[in-house]
């Protein structure tokens, strides 16, 4: 018995009775669940609450100080995202506008006359993509992919999970090998709305987007004025840059992180509009092939990049493992996974590779190997955001083996949206 256990005092029934006189009933009143649900829905429809007066005053003073100190630097670095008073960063792309919420990390893989390809590494970003430009617009986040023609939507990456919220238009959302269209008002997962913008910010996001490099139509020219009081950010377009990174952190925007410096090094919108667009590099061409559904050609292109050993080699090697895993070829995926690990033992995708391997073993119905994956991962990374996937597999395996206590212990730490009941089913059977 532990010391704490020994020290645990006895309960006092009189105290229980006395306290019970004053505490509200722990049982909800009839209809409370429905009433509160309605209240939550109304609250979520309202714009985010404003800051208290003292916070606004403090922010104004701080902003003034920051403006005096770093204003000239910002003035000379127009490609950095403009940071709004609400702490969001605004980024002008060729035919789209993006808002990066708080600490969102968005990599611009391509932004040229053919289309825009962005990778959301972390956080929430919202986009307004101008319709009718004929350009493709793709946001990838982990293994998920959102493709649009013209719309207003948001994407969030948190702990490896991707959420999408569509305000206007339709997006094609691919995640976990499943592709489906999401229309206006739809979200994935259902009911998880991401928008935390004020009405003014939302109006600014939804305002028509000036299309860089295109002759402005009369209608567009008439409506390109910003719709809110906030100034429109400079039309910074890190176009044609490979892996330009935009981080929403005001500190980064003000002080210039390495990533922001890379973004700043990209040509400005004016330069891009006057010069011929930079040709996509080999990796970007491979991504374009994959995006267009030419999987075999994409794989060949990725293989060429991987063997070239340049800066994109790791991304390409990971893509060579991801592609077969996503397209139902677990054995090919396992071979590519081994090659990635051999080439990049401490690579950026090391934990993602672990998940790919687990999924490949499950897809190949190799329970022993999947269980080994789970044991290894949980021994080394028990607190990783992806750990619950491995716990689910180990819990299911323990349940099948009759170790119901062990299974319950694992599944206790698996989110409730996962199929815990199915995993525990062998223990529930008579």
């Amino acid at each position: 018995m532990s010391r704490e256990r020994e020290r645990e005092p006895a309960r006092n029934p009189e105290l229980l009775r006395t306290l019970g006189l004053a505490l509200p009933s722990p049982t909800p009143r009839p209809g409370a669940e429905r009433r509160i649900a309605r209240g939550i829905q109304e609250r979520l429809r309202q714009p985010a609450r404003g800051w208290p007066f003292w916070a606004v005053l403090g922010a104004c003073v701080l902003s003034a100080c920051v403006g005096v100190l770093v204003g000239p630097r910002l003035f000379h670095a127009p490609s950095k995202p403009a940071v709004s008073a609400a702490g969001h960063s605004w980024l002008a792309l060729r035919a789209a506008r993006a808002v990066l919420v708080e600490r969102a990390n968005l990599e611009i893989e391509r932004d040229d006359e053919r289309g825009t390809e962005l990778r959301l590494v972390a956080g929430t970003a919202l986009f307004h993509v101008q319709k009718g430009t004929g350009r493709s617009f793709v946001v990838t986040a982990g293994a998920a992919r959102v493709q649009v023609i013209g719309t207003v939507f948001g994407v969030t990456v948190a702990d490896g999970r991707v959420s999408v919220d569509v305000v206007e238009g339709v997006v094609r959302f691919t995640n976990g090998g499943v592709t489906r269209n999401l229309g206006a008002g739809e979200t994935s997962p259902p009911g998880v709305h991401l928008f935390a913008l004020s009405p003014a910010e939302l109006a600014r996001l939804r305002a028509p987007v000036p299309v860089v490099g295109a002759a402005p139509s009369a209608a567009a020219a008439a409506t390109t004025a910003p719709s809110s009081a906030e100034p429109e950010p400079s039309p910074s377009t890190p176009s044609g840059s490979s892996h330009a990174v935009a981080r929403a952190s005001p500190a980064n925007a003000a002080q210039g992180s390495t990533e922001a410096a890379r973004a700043a090094a990209a040509p400005s919108a004016a330069e891009t509009a006057s010069n011929a667009p930079a040709a996509p590099n080999a990796y970007q061409r491979a991504r374009a092939l994959e995006r267009d559904g030419s999987i075999a050609e994409a794989a060949s292109a990725y293989a060429a990049v991987a063997s070239a050993g340049d800066a994109d080699a790791e991304d390409a090697t990971f893509a060579l493992a991801r592609l077969p895993a996503q397209h139902g070829d677990p054995n090919a995926a396992l071979g590519a996974i081994a090659r990635y690990r051999s080439a990049f033992p401490n690579g950026r995708y090391a934990r993602d590779i672990d998940v790919l391997e687990l999924n490949a073993h499950l897809a190949a119905h190799d329970e022993t190997a999947a269980l080994r994956d789970a044991e290894t991962f949980l021994a080394h990374f028990p607190n990783d955001a992806r750990a619950w996937r491995f716990r689910l597999v180990r819990g299911a395996s323990r349940a099948r083996a009759g170790d119901c206590a062990g299974a319950a212990s694992d599944l206790e730490r698996v989110p409730d949206g996962a199929p815990k009941t199915a995993a525990l089913a062998p223990c529930a059977a008579p």
């Binding site: 005092p9 006395t18 306290l19 509200p24 909800p28 409370a32 979520l44 999970r161 959420s163 499950l362």
Partner: protein, 179 residues
């Protein structure tokens, strides 16, 4: 029915859905909020907790029990509310704007409830939470410690201080009957 491995794999990718969390854990959150707040604003506070849950659901890492995560949000939300209310009351008292207690003669039970509430007011939110969770909800010290993310010793110290402060303000339990 036992799920196949591919079912498990496919569903393992499914993120948490707010509607499911609400439906499954509403009663738990309501109970926690009612016990910790000790006031009549329970429905408003439960709504506040679930608005936070909605906003933060994507951040739930799955490396702790969902109920522990929900408890933590409820604890922080109710704690902030209680401290705000107390501050407001003190400000109103300072400016003489706190309403006078009713001069009507309440029933004996209502009067005792008022005195219990007044005695609980003398405890910090942390002490009151430890007292209520231990004595009323029957949680063990270890369970409270895990939920609050503090050592068991801290929980027992808060409990000891809470009992002493409550007894000083209200009188030892059972005293009412002896009178």
């Amino acid at each position: 029915m036992q799920g196949t491995q591919s079912d498990v794999e496919a569903l393992a990718r499914a993120p948490l859905v707010f509607a499911d969390v609400y439906a499954e854990h509403f009663a738990f959150v309501y109970r926690v909020v009612a016990r910790l707040s000790g006031s009549g604003d329970v429905e408003d506070l439960v709504q506040e907790v679930f608005v936070v849950v909605h906003r933060r659901l994507g951040e739930f890492r799955g490396d702790a029990r969902l109920t522990s995560w929900l408890f933590r949000i409820a604890y922080l939300t109710v704690g902030a509310h209680v401290r705000r209310e107390r501050l407001g009351r003190r400000v109103r008292e300072l400016f003489g704007r706190e309403p006078e207690p009713s001069t009507a003669h309440p029933s004996e039970e209502l009067e005792r409830a008022r005195r219990v509430r007044a005695a609980l007011e003398r405890l910090s939110f942390e002490q009151r939470s430890a007292l209520v969770l231990f004595e009323v909800e029957g949680w063990s010290g270890a369970e409270i410690a895990e939920a609050l993310g503090v050592p068991s010793g801290t929980v027992f110290r808060r409990l000891h201080e809470a009992r002493r402060a409550f007894a000083a303000a209200y009188g030892p339990p059972g005293e009412e009957e002896a009178r």
